[in-house]
């Protein structure tokens, strides 16, 4: 088996035994279970009922939890491994730095994406058993959205891990990144910017550059295609991309951000002290 896959497998085995993975899986599995338990599939909002209603709520909750979870657990475990001497030992073995770094990303990606996806898949399987209609288009798009979101924040987390030399600094930096993105969500900072007479194009530009807002808008667009909730900025977004165009942008842009951050992380890792 090639070294990259061996490293990925190693990281998956390490993660499966870590406490963070248990909590992470329980959180997302628990969300789906709770949504079913509280009868969300029978309630109606904006015309949504059944599994569509559950998936809309699930994606909203996931968008609030997944980024910070991925950022914190990635930087904690990567920087923690380095501090504890795991890198010193494993990197004394003849593993190329590219195989090590990208293998670690692949392994970590599998462990962060699978619980989120399996929880959603579980909801679909349960619905099929119960005879509830499954909105397949929504399911596949949300799966792609979650995959893009996980990759985006994993890339950012890996970059922070390679730049920060200690777990504390890495954790603090990860939290600051998440907080900054959170502050630039439309309801908080964009509101202030518009009140402060900042040009609407700048405000919309900031929203389109913020991965958290991009996911949020994409999730909204699934049940509000005209983005009425967003107000006038919806015109700019829809004029610029169109409804389908924005859905594609919401997948490609975060993947690009994650990939660029991961690449920057790799180049830094290759040039710096390893342990």
């Amino acid at each position: 088996m090639n070294t990259l896959l061996l490293t990925a497998k190693l990281d998956i085995v390490e993660s499966l035994r870590a406490r963070w993975f248990l909590i992470y899986s329980l959180v997302f599995g628990g969300i789906v279970a709770l949504l079913f338990a509280f009868g969300l599939t029978e309630s109606r909002v904006l015309g949504f009922i059944g599994l569509s209603r559950l998936l809309v709520t699930y994606i909203q909750l996931t968008m609030a939890i997944l980024p910070v979870f991925v950022l914190i657990t990635t930087v904690r475990s990567v920087a923690g491994d380095r501090e504890a001497g795991v890198f010193e030992y494993l990197l004394s073995l003849p593993v190329s730095l590219s195989a090590w770094f990208w293998g670690k990303i692949v392994g970590r990606y599998v462990t962060i994406f699978l619980p989120v996806f399996v929880a959603m898949l579980g909801a679909v399987v349960w619905s099929l058993i119960q005879g509830i209609e499954v909105p397949w288009g929504m399911f596949f798009y949300y799966t792609a959205l979650l995959a893009a979101m996980a990759w985006c924040f994993l890339g950012i987390g890996m970059l922070i891990s390679t730049l920060a030399r200690s777990t504390d600094v890495a954790q603090g930096a990860a939290f600051m990144v998440w907080l900054t993105m959170l502050l630039f969500l439309d309801l908080i900072l964009l509101g202030v910017m518009i009140q402060g007479h900042v040009a609407p194009e700048v405000a919309v530009g900031v929203a389109l550059a913020n991965p958290l807002q991009v996911f949020r808008t994409a999730a909204l667009a699934m049940f509000d295609p005209q983005l009425i909730v967003l107000g006038p900025s919806a015109y700019v977004i829809l004029d610029l991309f169109g409804a389908a165009g924005y859905q594609i942008y919401a997948l490609i842009y975060p993947v690009l951000i994650g990939s660029l951050c991961a690449l920057a992380g790799y180049l830094t890792f290759r040039r710096s002290d390893l342990p």
Binding site: M1, T3, L6, K9, L10, V13, E14, R17, A18, A84, G85, V86, F87, E88, Y89, L90, L91, S92, L93, P94, V95, S96, L97, R271, S272, D273, L274, P275
Partner: protein, 290 residues
């Protein structure tokens, strides 16, 4: 074999290695000694290609940083502190064997020789093993492949006397075609294992000397001790060295590995007031420990 030329390393303006130069030939066994902060670990990490640095480091003419996979494929490393890996022992062995292009069976065989039955602990997480078990497994991984260089940081610190003796035998089997660098805080821990001593202080080499080798690594010494009176503390110490009580806690008898003599004598000198006789005599290596 190993060449360091003007190697310097700075951490935030603090110079940890200061223009270190040395050449090590094939078959040399070096004790790398020095106090905490002397630069031993940094030097080892530069050798393993883990740290960036000024100057040149080559192993067999190649850079361990630029040509990691080919160079490190011939370098075995035993760290002082075992890494807190959560993966099962079997997975660690398979991973190490796969990336080193070795056969896991070689690692299992060496672990068995060291007294560690890996088949019983294959599914157990590495971080749940005892200190001695971890050390034996890391030694087995380092020795269970074709290496030209062995870098070991206090490798025998957690081993019992019998495992230490087997470890010395394993090293003795590789004397001619392997270069060894053994790092330690204290020379007496490793003196009998090496034929050259390099002492570091404040990031510089302050001593580089040869050591006369009169005893083989595999040599065994029979030891008799007579005490003034029985004493619980020395009895516990000698039992740890697997000595047998021959007469009411006053006469003791056991075997000590050649490379362990200095360490053993260092231990018993703590009870020098109780000692009335101590006798060491070399015996055939086939004599078994009691």
């Amino acid at each position: 074999m190993i060449r360091l030329q003007n190697v310097s390393k700075l951490f935030k303006r603090h110079r940890v290695l200061d223009h270190v130069s040395m050449e090590v030939e094939l078959g040399e066994r070096i004790a790398l000694i020095g106090s905490n902060g002397a630069g031993k670990t940094t030097l080892i990490r530069c050798l393993l290609g883990e740290y960036t640095h000024d100057g040149d480091v080559t192993i067999g003419g190649h850079s361990p940083r630029a040509e990691r996979t080919s160079v490190l494929g011939k370098v075995g490393f035993v760290p002082q502190l075992p890494p807190p890996l959560k993966m099962p022992v079997g997975q660690l062995v398979n991973f190490a064997a796969a990336v080193c292009r070795s056969d896991p069976k070689r690692i299992h065989d060496i672990a068995t020789r060291l007294g560690l039955d890996t088949h019983e602990i294959l599914a157990r997480p590495f971080n749940r093993l005892s200190g001695g078990m971890k050390q034996k497994l890391l030694i087995a991984i380092a020795l269970g492949r074709d290496t030209r260089v062995l870098v070991m940081d206090e490798p025998a610190a957690n081993l019992d006397p019998e495992a230490r003796h087997i470890f010395f035998n394993l090293l003795a089997e590789r004397l001619e075609n392997t270069t060894m660098i053994i790092s330690s805080h204290r020379l007496d821990e490793v003196a009998s294992l090496v034929n050259r001593v390099i002492e570091m202080d404040m990031g510089q080499v302050v001593l580089d000397d040869r050591v006369a080798e009169e005893t083989k690594l595999s040599a065994m010494f029979q030891c008799h001790l007579t005490l003034l009176r029985p004493d619980a503390a020395i009895a516990r110490t000698l039992a740890g060295w697997q000595f047998a009580d021959r007469r009411d806690g006053v006469e003791w008898h056991g075997l000590v590995s050649g490379p362990d003599r200095l360490r053993f004598l260092g231990t018993v000198t703590r009870y020098v007031g109780l000692l009335t006789r101590i006798e060491l005599a070399e015996v055939a290596p086939s004599v078994t420990l009691q």
